[in-house]
Amino acid sequence: MTDLSIQIGPLTLKNPIIAASGCFGYGVEYAGVVDLSLLGGVAVKGLFLAPREGHPPERIVETPAGMLNAIGLQGIGVHRFIAEKLPELRDRRATVIVNICGSTLEEYVELARILSDAEGVAALELNISCPNIKEGGITFGCSLTGTYDVVSAVKKVTPLPVIPKLTPNVTDVASFARASEDAGADAVSLVNTFLAMAIDVETRRPKLSNIVGGLSGPAIRPIAVRMVYECRRTVKIPIIGMGGIASATDALEFMIAGADAVQVGTANFVDPFIWTKLLDGIRDYLGRHNIARVRELTGTIDTTAREKEWISS
């Protein structure tokens, strides 16, 4: 029996496959297509204290092997989330990771407090990296002291595992992982989307109402894998890797680079039935390679030189 469980601080996930925030609604939307209890975790759509309208359409646009989004964190706010969504998630035995966003440090702290009192929250993911709203914590996410401060402040008020989500739009992402670790983060997750844009040349207008948005999907995978690899060499805390994962092979690539778990976002739009395929693929791989526990895979990239092989082809 392969052991797929992984550890994030005090929290054990039954497997390393997590639905990425903002790509899986509040989880309940997908209860009809996938048994939520099968997932390692469900990171729900980024929540502010108050409900938010979000940006006007167009909110997404497809790009080569990727997509841009500028949703603007439309959402129901933390109170309605707890009242309206959390009970169903609990009933369906989902491992709920709540992705929280604030304009101020106090707001993160307040959100953490409120959610710590709610039943059925497994961990907090601090969204300090949303590229397409000014108040989405990106000011924290692009500053080492900002990152340090928000993580330590939230740690002080919650017993829940705290997972800052890092932006890739920085020169040295590993230093942000280090700042997070220093501040007591239980894990880091990366990457959020890359700030990007697309223009309709006929109208000369941006294709997104917000002008810029976040790039996700397979296009960014090689950059995200590199960032996970750099962070793995810098911090000891668990890393939740993501960015363009669309198959079990892709998920394994992140783990071998250094991720303990992974999140899958854009690929869920393309194939909402992907979850069991990912789990089956990982089980199959571990079986073929005689690896008993998935956690043994993390960071096992082999950077020694290769030997040539005679493959009689």
Binding site: G25, G32, E53, P57, R59, F269, V270
Partner: protein
């Protein structure tokens, strides 16, 4: 619950250099579809195109009464619709559905007036069938640029649907937009119970919804917003819905729609 079917192409009928009707072997979806619902389709391996695209279910195909497929009426505007146009028998199209909130069919003595603009004809074949089966009288107001872009006229006529056509170049029916014959009909329908269904470009939907309101008839419109997932996951497909007299909030049209009551939508936003 939606299902994902790797549907084989049964046949591809080109209606013009832009429009085609693609028949797909997806009986599971076809059998479960209500008029106005849609499927999310993906062609090709690999990640270009990356995302699925939404298409109304056009016809539910039956052989000896058994549902064995569905068709899509597609207009060539970009990469996926080009692939749908080029598809040949035996190709495979990944087809996820049925999705979304359908139209609400009315019963006699109410009359059903369907207003279609261009490829907005798509949901009305299945809607007409359901309405006719209930004995409801059905009229199709159908507008396009030119006569050659008006399709399936016989299909509707043969089933007893009254047609009121309009073309922008005047080559068939009313010269101008389809809202003109619609307004004449509304003006002359005093005392009759009418439900107005619309599908087409958004400014047309708005005009239809306003006309229906002006003549105090209910309307249902099917909106077309860019959809990333079709299942409520991405929040790309939102439409502003009225909140009191001045406010609005964004509702995901893949879950709350694509069909909305015409007076729900905050058209001015």
């Amino acid at each position: 619950m939606p299902v994902d079917v790797e549907a084989r192409v049964i046949r591809n009928t080109r209606l013009s250099s832009e429009y085609n009707v693609l028949a797909l072997a997806a009986p599971e979806i076809a059998a479960a579809t209500a008029p106005g619902q849609f499927v999310m389709v993906k062609l090709g391996r690999g990640s270009t195109p990356l995302l699925r695209r939404p298409f109304s279910v056009f016809e539910v195909l039956r052989t000896n009464g058994r549902v064995d497929g569905l068709t899509l009426l597609s207009k060539r505007v970009g990469v996926t619709t080009q692939m749908l146009f080029d598809a040949v028998e035996g190709d495979v199209v990944s087809c996820l559905g049925p999705l979304g909130r359908p139209y609400t069919p009315v019963d006699p003595p109410a009359d059903a007036w369907m207003v279609a603009g261009g490829v907005g004809l798509a949901p009305f074949a299945t809607l007409a069938e359901v309405l006719l089966a209930r004995g409801t009288g059905v009229t199709l107001f159908y507008g396009a640029r030119t006569a050659r872009d008006l399709f399936y006229l016989d299909w509707f006529r043969d089933r007893g649907v009254r047609l009121s056509l309009a073309t922008e170049d005047g080559s068939l029916g009313d010269h101008g937009r389809v809202t003109a014959p619609l307004e004449r009909a509304l003006a002359g329908a005093a005392g009759r119970t009418v439900m107005v269904y619309a599908c087409g470009p958004e400014p047309m939907l708005e005009a239809v919804a306003r006309l229906a309101a002006k003549y105090q008839r209910p309307s249902e419109v099917s909106v077309e917003r860019v959809m990333g997932c079709g299942l409520g996951g991405c929040y790309s497909c939102v439409i502003p819905i009225r909140d009191g007299p001045k406010g609005h909030h964004y509702v995901r049209s893949c879950l709350g729609g694509p069909v909305f009551a015409g007076d729900q939508i905050a058209w001015d936003r």
